[in-house]
Amino acid sequence: MRSAILAAVAALLAACQSSDVSREVGARCDRSSECDDRCLPATDYPGGFCTTACATRDDCPSGAVCAEVDGGVCLFSCTTDASCGFLGAGWRCTASDLHGGGIQGMVCRGA
């Protein structure tokens, strides 16, 4: 009985948990159907990376920028490698061209 209650509480907590990532940007994926738009491959983005096409930074959710990748996709911006740690192992903070602006920014990408 006690274990059943604990399991129920755990399930409730799991259901209420928040996440820094979403189907729009950041979720793990193997194929695009797991994402709102597209799945960047695990070969370059460890674990796979859900993202959406963008033209400007405004098209991306908070914390992401529009990088010059595949015609413009949203990637998380960063300042250090540690700030990409929430994405898992194999991610680094690297300089990347930003889409449309002709400037560079720091984004999380596969090492």
Partner: protein, 232 residues
């Protein structure tokens, strides 16, 4: 079962006897010897005292058959991994006692198939479906308690437990659900054997889902309207 039938027969006979007695004794507080002879009406009898309230015959009890069926339609608000959307339900009701009815329900929920599950970076599945996503089918056993019987409007409370299947097609996510039901409503007699039924209900419980999601809570609110037909 036979014992129960006998008990019901006894109750029915008792009811008939009481009704017969009531018919045989119209409301009249006067003793038999106080009745004036019909052949010689007493024209000098005093006028009725207006200060004494005059009560008419008792309102007839609204008799229901002991079996009802109903069809209802409405909406369910779900969310996360609880299906929501259009609700179509069929009911079979069987009278258990003076105020309690067994209510067997089969319900179908039709929502959108839009995907809303994803894997976070720790590879845990998270689903954030909207209130009208998913499809579901459920059978439930409930008990309805009429809060009043002798009225055209009959409010009731109800509760029960169900067993269901939930499906979110774009996420390829399916699961078994066990929701508890608690709610109420009102039935309104619109014809001798037909009643309009409106009910709202909170459905809460747990489901077991695939894709590594495992045990997940279920929570929904349903509002339905339908017609109830007396079988006999």
């Amino acid at each position: 079962m036979s014992r129960r039938l006998i008990a019901r027969l006894v109750l029915a006979l008792a009811g008939l006897g009481a009704a017969g007695a009531a018919r045989a004794q119209p409301a009249d507080p006067l003793p038999a010897e106080a009745h004036p002879t019909p052949a010689a009406p007493d024209l000098t009898a005093p006028a009725p005292d207006p200060s004494i309230p005059v009560t008419g015959p008792a309102a007839p009890a609204h008799t229901l058959g002991d079996q009802l069926i109903s069809a209802e339609a409405g909406a369910v608000a779900g969310g996360r991994v609880t299906p929501g959307g259009l609700r179509i339900a069929g009911h079979y009701l069987y009278q258990l006692s003076e105020v309690d009815w067994f209510d067997g329900m089969a319900a179908f929920t039709f929502g959108s198939g839009q995907g809303a599950c994803f894997r976070d970076r720790r590879d845990m599945v998270i689903c954030k479906h909207g209130a009208t996503d998913g499809t579901g089918v459920e059978i439930a056993a409930r008990v309805r308690r009429l809060l009043t019987q002798r009225s055209v409007f009959q409010p009731f409370a109800q509760g029960g437990v169900g067993l269901g299947l939930a499906r979110f097609s774009d996420d390829e996510l399916s699961g078994f659900t066990i929701p508890l039901h608690a709610g109420g409503g009102v039935r309104v007699e619109v014809a001798p054997m037909i009643a309009l039924v409106m009910e709202d209900e909170l459905e809460f419980g747990f489901g077991v889902f695939g894709r590594g999601l495992g045990l997940a809570p279920q929570l929904a609110f349903a509002v339905t309207v339908g017609l109830e037909f007396q079988l006999r």
